[in-house]
Chain length 208, copies 2
């Protein structure tokens, strides 16, 4: 008994399960143990559905080669939806930001997901983000407006500044592109994903 690491040092399937949960964002060892016990005492009603949902999602969900969204289709449903405005591009940091904007219903254009933000502190440079494909996409597809919907943080604003420079500087053909940012309504220092829908919708409408 003293050899099992829930109480000791072992590394059985229980420990592997707890460790897999403890590695998820927002979870620690204690919450991981609670979840593992919850699942093991509800194998049919909770554990198997979760395992199946994981397998099914892993098999069917892929990254959209155009915008970086996660979807069953590639190109994703946003990129395929011809009813959406193909002349407006909204640049976001991650998929959760795309979802947050979609929930507002206030935007009907296209998206481009960077996969993060520039960060000197974390050593994340332009080559680590989907910036080259953004420039290529703007050059190739042409847009009337590019909305930089990035967080009102140092990294978010540095990223917006860098993209603006590249879009205006690289290619004289892009000089005509109107580049806008989300306006007042985003609390300074706030992550997009944590804002209520109304705040995001307001910021979108008053973008400048």
């Amino acid at each position: 008994m003293s050899q099992t690491s829930n109480y000791g040092r072992d590394d059985g399937p229980m420990d592997q399960l707890i460790r897999a949960f403890a590695n998820l964002p927002g979870l620690g060892p204690r919450s991981a143990r609670r979840i593992a016990l919850h699942l093991l005492s509800r194998k049919d009603s909770a554990m198997k559905p979760l395992a199946h949902a994981l397998d099914h999602a892993a098999e069917t969900i892929r990254t959209c080669s155009a915008c970086g969204n996660l979807d069953m289709a590639d190109p994703c449903r946003v990129c395929q939806d011809t009813s959406r405005n193909a002349r407006t591009l909204c640049v976001v940091s991650g998929v959760s930001d795309l979802w947050a904007i979609e929930r507002t219903g206030a935007y009907k254009g296209r998206y481009h997901i960077l996969g993060g933000l520039l960060s000197a502190l974390d050593g994340i440079g332009p080559q680590d983000l989907r910036i080259a494909s953004l420039l290529e996409r703007v050059r190739h597809d042409g847009f009337d407006e590019i909305i930089l919907a990035l967080a009102a943080t140092v990294d978010g604003q540095a990223t917006a500044h860098y993209i603006t420079d590249r879009l205006h500087g690289n290619n004289s053909g892009n000089q005509a592109v109107k580049i806008t940012r989300l306006a007042h309504g985003i609390p300074v220092g706030g992550d997009l994903d944590y804002l209520d829908d109304g705040t995001i919708a307001t910021a979108l409408k008053s973008r400048a």
Copy 2:
């Protein structure tokens, strides 16, 4: 796009995955979305290991038919360990309480897991817990001491009271069994699983 319930009303594999996580204890829709996105962007390094750990644990971990513990073996390793004192039985609410006590190293007897506590509010009666098997086990195996290591809450103390009555009343042969409870050191209203090891060890040593 308006048909997908991350942003709308659909029920694809992404929604199923998010819902499966949102149903876990301590998680809500927002944390479930974060976890789903985390996994989908790390299929090989995080999603597949988690799915494998779930399958493996579901296949190999079972409930001990003697004490109610979760283990790969039945009887579990605690019940099989002949170096442990077979004359002392520690009654706990759940597996996490057994783990908490094992982590202290202060107890070397047997366990019996009730699978919950009596609760008038939640409609949990004696028939919903492993109380009948506890009485049968005490009658059959014989113990010198039974430690009721239950939470210092209304439900925990009501459960301890009920078990004490049944052990003393049901069978004159049980009159000799010494029934003890965890002593000072458990904060009133505190769950066992949230206490530090030292507090639990102290309460065990000064049990009365």
